[in-house]
Structure formats: structure tokens, C-alpha cells
């Protein structure tokens, strides 16, 4: 009874909860590329399951003491050797279908499903456990290949086992690998939901580990591009340090205001005005002179903008007042900053 239970559990785990295709994302290539009809699905199923059982058993019985680096080579060579008679058999009875999947039959020999199951189970367990795993993983794999083959043939070609179903519409896009991925996604969601309902404690998503997803060298490249090869990085660094470096001084006034534009928009109006009141007195209008004050660069660029806004506001105010001559108002505005600059320098 105990043995019976363990077989049952093995099948449940390897074929359903940890389905190799749906939840572990292994052995996908033949499924998405070639499971496009019932006939090709049968061929792929037979070859994949026979290979899986034979190679896993072989690995369990004979390859436990062989180094891992040599075992993977043996799996691949064995896979091609097992493929030979199967290919000849199918070529004899279904030559057209065999011609359609001809590349994929030898390619199944290096299917990741075989190598992973051999390394995970076969070389670490006894023969019985290995056999149960091979058969159950094979069942899970075959089930998905057959289901996908049937669905894609019916929806994509409008036929079933080459028998025309006379559908008015055929979605032939599903015969492409994209269709395979799409159907796999929906099948995975469907089965995940069903598994959760039947076995609430099981977590099929745990079969595919996503904990290391953010650890990527891509971030390092991004940092290198943004910092090491960014011509403006020194400028921004100088601004952060308070605008003391020569590079910061060399940047034209116009450029500074462009860079700070987004920051300025975020500032509240009151804060902007108070800042203007603080800095206008100390700020030189002409930027090319060496800075004597200790004001940081961002503040100074903000000053120019606020001054400009101020001038505009006063011009508008002058326009709004018809009794005051416009020319006088402009002269006043033009004189103001020069006075303030002098005062700032003195301080």
C-alpha cells in the first residue's frame, strides 16, 4: 500500500503539480515549435517519453559514478542513438509528418527535460524512484504535447487527425511558435487554478524559482552607460557638491536652466518666491565671473529663472497699468538686478 501511495504521489508531483512544461518551463522547444497537429504530437510524445525512460534508467543504473561533465555528453549521444530507430519507424509509416518534424526529432535528443530529470532524480535515487519519475514526467509531458497538438490542429488548421472539420474560420497564427506559447500560458493558468482548487496546500508556481530575477549584470551595464559614459555626469556631480568645480562654472546659463526646468516645476510657488528673496541679493547676473559666494549651483540657476519670471511678471503688471509709462517700468526692472548684484558682491 505504501509503495502504491508513493507511486501515486510521484505521478501527482512530477506529472501534475510540477508539470515539466507548464510549471517548470523545460522541454518547451519541441512543444511550441512542432506540436501543431495530432500526428506530429503523437510522434513527439512517443520519442520524448521513450528517450526519457531509457536515458533516465541508464543514468540511474550506470552513470552514478561518472562525472557530471561527462554525463551530459552521454545523455546527448544516447538520445541521438535512441532517435535513430524511432525516426526510421516513423519515416516508414508517416513519411510526410516525419519530413515536417525532421529537425526536431534529433533535436529532442538534447531536450532539457531529459538532462534535468537525469541530474535531479536519476543519479541521486534508486531505480524504482527513477522509473516512477521518468514515467510520470513522461506522462505530464505527453499530456501537454497531445493537448497542444489537438488544440492547435483544430483551431489553427480546422482539422482533426487530417480530417476536415469544415470550420468557417481558421486561426493559422496558432501554428507558429507564438501560438504555442500563448496556448501554453492559458493552459498553465487553467491547470494552476484547477490544482489550487483540488490541492489547496500545493504551490505549482514554486516549481519555477523567480527569487533571483533582479540579480542581473544588465543593471551593471546600465550603471556603466549612465555614469561612466555620460558626458554630463561631471556636471551633475558638480551641482551636487555645490557648484564649486570649474566644469560647473563653464556650463552656460541657458543649459543650466534647461536641466533644472523639471525640478523647478515641482517646487511650490511659495517656496520659489521665498528662495528668490533669499538669493536674488547675492547673485551675480553675469555668470562667467568666478563665484565668490558659497551658494550651490542649483540655487543659482533657480535665481536666474526666478529673476526672469520676475521681469516677465513686472512687465505684465506694467502693461496692465496704463497710467505708468511702459518705458520707465522697463528701465526700473533693468536696473534692479545690477544693483542687487553689486550688493551681493559686497556682502
Amino acid at each position: 500500500m505504501a509503495d502504491k501511495m508513493s507511486v501515486r504521489e510521484g505521478v501527482r508531483n512530477s506529472a501534475v503539480i510540477k508539470n515539466p512544461v507548464l510549471f517548470e518551463a523545460i522541454g518547451i522547444a519541441p512543444v511550441v515549435a512542432m506540436a501543431v497537429s495530432v500526428k506530429t504530437a503523437i510522434m513527439l510524445s512517443v520519442i520524448a517519453s521513450v528517450e526519457l525512460v531509457i536515458i533516465e534508467s541508464f543514468a540511474c543504473l550506470l552513470l552514478k559514478k561518472v562525472k557530471q561533465s561527462f554525463r551530459v555528453l552521454i545523455y546527448a549521444v544516447l538520445g541521438v542513438l535512441i532517435n535513430m530507430p524511432l525516426f526510421m519507424f516513423f519515416n516508414r509509416f508517416a513519411p510526410n509528418e516525419t519530413a515536417n518534424v525532421s529537425i526536431f526529432i534529433p533535436v529532442i535528443a538534447v531536450n532539457s527535460l531529459i538532462a534535468l530529470h537525469c541530474e535531479r532524480i536519476a543519479v541521486k535515487n534508486d531505480f524504482r524512484t527513477t522509473l516512477v519519475d521518468a514515467i510520470s514526467a513522461g506522462i505530464g509531458y505527453v499530456f501537454i504535447i497531445m493537448l497542444l497538438g489537438i488544440l492547435r490542429e483544430v483551431i489553427g488548421s480546422g482539422t482533426f487527425y487530417s480530417f476536415d472539420l469544415k470550420f468557417p474560420v481558421k486561426f493559422s497564427g496558432l501554428l507558429l511558435p507564438f501560438g504555442g506559447f500563448l496556448l501554453l500560458g492559458f493552459l498553465a493558468a487553467f491547470f494552476k487554478n484547477a490544482i489550487k482548487k483540488k490541492y489547496p496546500d500545493e504551490k505549482p508556481e514554486a516549481a519555477f524559482n523567480l527569487s533571483e530575477i533582479s540579480e542581473m549584470h544588465f543593471d551593471e551595464i546600465k550603471t556603466a552607460v549612465e555614469e561612466d559614459f555620460n558626458p554630463f555626469v561631471d556636471f551633475f556631480a558638480a551641482k551636487d557638491e555645490g557648484g564649486e568645480t570649474a566644469e560647473a562654472e563653464a556650463v552656460p546659463e541657458k543649459k543650466k536652466s534647461i536641466f533644472k526646468k523639471s525640478d523647478k516645476k515641482e517646487k511650490p510657488e511659495k517656496e520659489k518666491k521665498s528662495k528668490k528673496a533669499e538669493t536674488v541679493e547675492a547673485e551675480p547676473l553675469v555668470d562667467v565671473q568666478p563665484v565668490k559666494d558659497e551658494k550651490p549651483a542649483p540655487e543659482r540657476s533657480g535665481v536666474y529663472e526666478s529673476e526672469f519670471d520676475d521681469i516677465l511678471a513686472e512687465l505684465e503688471a506694467a502693461k496692465a497699468k496704463p497710467e505708468e509709462p511702459a518705458e520707465e517700468a522697463i528701465e526700473e526692472i533693468a536696473e534692479e538686478p545690477a544693483d542687487e548684484t553689486e550688493g551681493g558682491d559686497e556682502q
Partner: protein, 197 residues
């Protein structure tokens, strides 16, 4: 000049216009799994490029023999896997005995050498009748295709993992498959292949 053009065109064909992984499905498992563990990406890409390029060049050279050309699919498969095995053993020797690589790197070497993408490249070269320059291009292109696919999938998975808008049933591999399907559709469009719906 012609040689360089052929090489570049074949590399572009393999990596972008007919991305072997996203439009062909070859090596899709490795790309998806690497996208989920991206620390391995650069080394794996390097090894895949090395194996696919060297195997495809040697196989194209062997195709010059009339006896080899006359062989069928299974005969070619035997030759290709023998060549791949020989290249693997040489690289394994260099990496372990000379460079003293760690066990983890050696494990990656096995994954990089024996996968559907690397074995499919010599087959594609053979079917397309590629020259040596084109074979080099398709080998390099397949490595690039792997890197492009893995990076694109990784960027997508990151968003998928963070998103709360995805229904519970679609979280994990279902959403990843659908995302890869959309990527695959985009690359099918890039290849110029039409679809009659």
C-alpha cells in the same frame, strides 16, 4: 567584402529577423530559465556562441565531403552530435585543466553545449546551404539571439513579478508564457512572415 557582408547578414538573420529562440522556439527553455536567473546570462551566452559557432563551422566544412552530404537527417544528426561532443570535450579540457574553472562554470558548459539551439544551428546551416562565413554569422547570431531573448524576457518577468494587476491564476509561468508569446509575435512581424487569420 562579400565574406563580411555574408557573415553580418547571417548574424542579423539569426539574432533579429529570424530570432532562433523567439520565432523558432529553439532553446526557449534555456532562455526562459536563464531570464529567471540572469546571473548566468553572460557566461552562458559566451559559451553558447562558442559552441554554436565552432560546431556550425566544422559541420559546414564536413559538408564539403560528398559522402557526408549524401547522408540523411539521422546521419547528419550523428555527425553534428559527434562534432558538438568533440568541441565540448576540448572546451571542457581547456576550462578545467588549463583555466581551472569552478564546478559551477563546468555545469554551465554542459547546459550551453547540449541544448536545442546549439544543435539546431548546424541543421539550419545544412538546410539553408550556408557558406563558412554565413555559418560563422549564424553561430554568432544564435548567441546574440539567446542574449537578446533572455534580456527581453528578464525585463518582462521583472514587471510581471511586481505587478498586482495580474490575476492569481496567471502569476508565474502562465504570465511568462503569454509575455514570451507577445515577444515571439513581435519577432515574427520583424521576420516579415505573414499570418492568414
Amino acid at each position: 567584402m562579400r565574406v563580411i557582408t555574408d557573415l553580418l547578414l547571417a548574424a542579423l538573420y539569426a539574432s533579429l529577423f529570424q530570432n532562433f529562440i523567439l520565432t523558432g522556439g529553439y532553446g526557449a527553455s534555456e532562455a526562459i530559465r536563464t531570464a529567471a536567473k540572469p546571473k548566468q546570462l553572460f557566461r552562458l551566452t559566451l559559451f553558447i556562441t562558442l559552441f554554436s559557432t565552432s560546431a556550425s563551422v566544422i559541420c559546414v566544412l564536413l559538408e564539403q565531403f560528398r559522402r557526408v552530404r549524401a547522408l540523411g537527417t539521422i546521419g547528419h544528426a550523428l555527425i553534428f552530435i559527434t562534432v558538438l561532443g568533440a568541441v565540448y570535450l576540448i572546451v571542457l579540457f581547456i576550462v578545467t585543466a588549463i583555466l581551472g574553472a569552478k564546478q559551477r562554470t563546468v555545469r554551465r558548459l554542459g547546459i550551453a553545449a547540449f541544448n536545442t539551439l546549439v544543435l539546431a544551428v548546424p541543421f539550419i546551416n545544412y538546410r539553408a546551404g550556408f557558406s563558412i562565413a554565413e555559418a560563422i554569422g549564424s553561430g554568432i547570431g544564435s548567441g546574440l539571439a539567446f542574449a537578446i531573448s533572455a534580456v527581453l524576457i528578464n525585463l518582462g518577468i521583472r514587471r510581471i513579478v511586481k505587478s498586482d494587476a495580474i490575476p492569481e491564476a496567471f502569476r508565474g509561468t502562465p504570465a511568462i508564457f503569454i509575455y514570451v508569446a507577445l515577444l515571439s509575435l513581435a519577432f515574427v512581424g520583424l521576420s516579415g512572415r505573414g499570418m492568414t487569420l
